[in-house]
C-alpha cells in the first residue's frame, strides 16, 4: 500500500479543508488484507523511539543482571562493562529454587483447576446454554471486580483456623477463584465461535457428546484453551498480596523471595536484577506466546 497524499502521513496535521466538500477522486484499488495504513519514515522513527524508551527499564534490568556488582552501581552508568553470569549463580545459591518451585506449583495447579471448572461452565454458557446465561456470565465477572484486599481478613482468619497458613494449596484455591471469571469469559468467547451448523451436522450424523467434544469442539477451541491457560498462569505467577500475607517460610512464592532479598546489606543491585529477570522470565515467555490472545484475557473477553 502506498501513501498518496502528504497529509495522510501525519494524523496531527491541521485540518485545512472540509472532508465532505472535497471532490471525489477515483483511486486504484488497494489491498484489503492488511487494513492498517503504511507509516512513513518519520512515523517509524517516532514509534521506535517510544518503544525503546518504554523497553529501556527491562533492557537495563537484563543488562545489569549480567554485570559485576562493582560495575552495576556506578554513576555515570557503565553500559559497556564486561558480562558475567555469576549473579545468577549467586541467586540460585541463595535458594531461589524453593520459591520458584512453590510459584510453579501454585500457578500450574491453579491453572489446571481453573480449566477443570471453567471449560464445562463455558460449555454450559455457550454451546448448550442454560437459561439466563448472560446473567450467570455477569455474576462471574462481578466477582472479579471485588478488591481482594477486602476479603483478606476473613480469608486469613478462616485459613488460620483450618491450619492452612503457609500452605501452597491455600494459594491454589485463592488463585483459582481469582482467575476463574477470566477463564470462563475467555473460554465462553472461544466456544461461541464454534459454528452451530457443524454441531448440528454432527448430531445428525449420530455423533455422541464425547465424539462431538473431542473431534469437533476441541480442535477449534484448542488455541483458546492454550491462551486461557497462559493468562491464568501469568496472573497467578505474579500475585503478591495473598502470597505475602498467607505464607511464611515453606510456601513462599517467587515475589516473596525478591522482597526478602533487599534486606541484605552491601552491593546487591546486579543480584537483584538477576533475580528479577529470572522470576519474570516464565511470564515474559508465556505472555509473548499468548500475545495475540492477551487482549481478550485482559479485557475479560470483551475485546477480540
Amino acid at each position: 500500500m502506498t501513501v498518496t497524499t502528504d497529509t495522510s502521513q501525519n494524523p496531527f496535521a491541521p485540518a485545512d479543508e472540509a472532508g465532505g466538500a472535497a471532490p471525489r477522486v477515483r483511486r486504484t484499488r488497494k489491498a484489503k488484507d492488511d487494513a492498517s495504513a503504511q507509516g512513513g519514515p518519520g512515523w517509524a522513527i517516532l514509534a521506535w523511539a517510544l518503544t525503546l524508551l518504554f523497553f529501556a527499564p527491562v533492557a537495563w534490568m537484563v543488562l545489569t543482571s549480567l554485570h559485576a556488582e562493582s560495575d552495576a552501581a556506578t554513576n555515570p552508568p557503565s553500559i559497556f562493562a564486561g558480562l558475567t553470569l555469576s549473579n545468577y549463580a549467586d541467586v540460585f545459591s541463595r535458594g531461589i529454587s524453593t520459591f520458584l518451585v512453590n510459584s510453579a506449583t501454585a500457578s500450574i495447579a491453579s491453572t489446571l483447576l481453573v480449566l477443570v471448572l471453567a471449560v464445562p461452565a463455558a460449555y454450559a454458557l455457550s454451546i448448550k446454554p442454560v437459561e439466563k446465561w448472560t446473567d450467570v456470565m455477569f455474576f462471574f465477572l462481578s466477582t472479579k471486580f471485588l478488591p481482594p484486599i477486602a476479603a483478606l481478613l476473613p480469608i486469613y482468619l478462616i485459613v488460620k483456623q483450618a491450619g492452612m497458613l503457609d500452605n501452597v494449596y491455600t494459594l491454589v484455591v485463592l488463585y483459582t477463584s481469582m482467575n476463574l471469571p477470566i477463564a470462563i469469559w475467555m473460554m465462553q468467547s472461544f466456544l461461541a465461535e464454534v459454528p452451530k451448523e457443524i454441531l448440528e451436522a454432527a448430531q445428525v450424523d449420530g455423533a455422541g457428546l464425547f465424539r462431538t467434544l473431542t473431534q469437533i469442539v476441541a480442535p477449534i477451541a484448542a488455541p483458546g484453551l492454550a491462551a486461557t491457560s497462559l493468562i491464568c498462569f501469568i496472573f497467578s505467577w505474579n500475585e503478591f498480596m495473598f502470597a505475602v500475607n498467607l505464607t511464611a517460610t515453606r510456601a513462599s512464592t517467587a515475589p516473596i523471595f525478591l522482597v526478602g532479598f533487599i534486606s541484605s546489606q552491601g552491593l546487591f543491585l546486579a543480584k537483584l536484577c538477576a533475580a528479577a529477570t529470572l522470576v519474570s522470565l516464565p511470564v515474559l515467555i508465556a505472555g509473548f506466546a499468548a500475545q495475540d490472545k492477551l487482549v481478550r484475557g485482559l479485557s475479560l473477553g470483551a475485546v477480540k
Binding site: T7, A35, F54, A151, P255, L294
Partner: protein, 326 residues
C-alpha cells in the same frame, strides 16, 4: 400456550419448545461446580467482612465473645468503625491518596497507551517486534518492576535516572543532580512506575479497538479527502470511545487494588504520603491488629469498586452484545 395474540405471537415461546426440567438440569450440570466454587470462595469472605466490620475487635485487646471460633471480640460496634473510617486522618488521607493515584495512573497511561496504539496501527519496519517489546513492562512481575524502579532507576547514587542526567550534564561540563526521587517525590515515583506498568494494558485494548474499525469507512474518508487528523477526530475517536471507556474502567478497578508497588517502593511513606486504601487496610490488619476497622475500610473499598464496576459492566455488556450480533 393458552392466550395467543393475533398480531404478534411472542417469538421466543413459539420458536423453541420449552425445555423439560430434566433437560434444564442436564444443561446446568456442567456449570454448577464453577458456580458453587465461586460463591463459596468469593461471597462468604465478603459476608464475613461485613459482619466483622460491625465489631469492636482488636487482637491486642482480646475480648470474651467468640466470633465463629476465629477469635475473640469485645463488643458490637454497630456502625462505630465506619464513623472512625470516615473521620480518622490516616484513613481519610488514604482515601484521597487512592483517588489521586488511581486517577493519575489511569489518565496518563490511557493517553500514552492511545499514542502508542495509534503509532502501532500503521505498518512500519519491525512493527511486530515493537509490539512485543511494548508488552514487556506489563509482564514483568509487578514486585520485580517496583524493585527495579526503586533501586535500579530512582536510586540517588547509582540509579539510571540520575546516571543518565549526570552523563548529559557532563557533556556541558556540569555535575549531575543527586536527587533522591523516591523521598523527594514519593507519589510521582509510584505513579511513574505504575504508568510504565499499565500503559501496555491500555495500548493493547485501544489497539484492538483501532484495528476493529471497519475498513470501508476509513476508505470512504480517504476518498472524501479527509486528512489524517479529520479521520482521527471524526471517525476513529467516536469508534474508540467505548474501548477508551473499557480500558479506563478496567484500569481503574485494577489500579485501585494496587498493593505491590506501595509495599515495595515507599511502604506508604513518608508518613502516610503514599498510603492508599489497600495498604492502609493491610496496616490496620497486621500492624494495628484492629480487625473491626480493617473490615470497615474493606467494605468502603468494595463500595467504591462497585461504583466503578457498575459503569464497567455496562460498557462490557454493550461490547458483549455488539460482538454477539456480529
Amino acid at each position: 400456550m393458552s392466550a395467543q395474540t393475533v398480531t404478534a405471537p411472542p417469538p421466543s415461546r413459539r420458536g423453541e419448545p420449552t425445555m423439560s426440567t430434566r433437560e434444564r438440569w442436564r444443561r446446568r450440570g456442567p456449570l454448577l461446580p464453577a458456580l458453587i466454587f465461586t460463591i463459596v470462595v468469593t461471597q462468604i469472605p465478603f459476608l464475613l467482612t461485613i459482619a466483622i466490620s460491625t465489631l469492636n475487635w482488636n487482637v491486642l485487646q482480646p475480648g470474651t465473645k467468640n466470633f465463629l471460633g476465629m477469635g475473640h471480640y469485645t463488643s458490637f460496634a454497630w456502625l462505630g468503625n465506619y464513623g472512625i473510617v470516615f473521620t480518622d486522618d490516616r484513613l481519610r488521607t488514604a482515601v484521597i491518596n487512592t483517588i489521586e493515584l488511581t486517577a493519575l495512573v489511569v489518565v496518563i497511561s490511557a493517553v500514552l497507551g492511545l499514542v502508542l496504539a495509534v503509532l502501532l496501527d500503521r505498518r512500519f519496519p519491525g512493527r511486530g517486534v515493537a509490539r512485543t517489546l511494548l508488552i514487556a513492562p506489563f509482564l514483568v512481575m509487578p514486585v520485580a518492576s517496583a524493585l527495579l524502579w526503586k533501586h535500579a532507576l530512582y536510586n540517588p547514587d547509582y540509579g539510571l535516572l540520575n546516571g543518565v542526567l549526570n552523563w548529559v550534564y557532563h557533556l556541558f561540563g556540569a555535575q549531575g543532580p543527586t536527587k533522591d526521587w523516591v523521598s523527594g517525590y514519593p507519589m510521582s515515583a509510584v505513579v511513574v512506575a505504575l504508568v510504565w506498568q499499565w500503559t501496555p494494558f491500555m495500548m493493547l485494548i485501544l489497539l484492538a479497538g483501532l484495528q476493529s474499525q471497519p475498513g470501508d469507512v476509513l476508505e470512504a474518508a480517504k476518498i472524501d479527502r479527509a486528512d489524517g487528523f479529520q479521520t482521527f477526530r471524526f471517525i476513529t475517536l467516536p469508534h474508540l470511545r467505548q474501548y477508551i471507556e473499557l480500558s479506563a474502567l478496567l484500569g481503574s478497578i485494577y489500579v485501585l487494588q494496587t498493593f505491590d508497588a506501595i509495599y515495595t517502593i515507599t511502604q506508604g511513606g513518608p508518613g502516610a504520603a503514599t498510603t492508599n486504601l489497600p495498604y492502609e487496610i493491610y496496616l490496620t490488619m497486621f500492624r494495628k491488629y484492629d480487625y473491626g476497622q480493617a473490615a470497615a475500610a474493606g467494605v468502603v473499598v468494595v463500595i467504591g469498586s462497585i461504583i466503578v464496576a457498575t459503569f464497567a459492566l455496562r460498557t462490557i455488556s454493550s461490547l458483549f452484545t455488539e460482538e454477539g450480533n456480529r
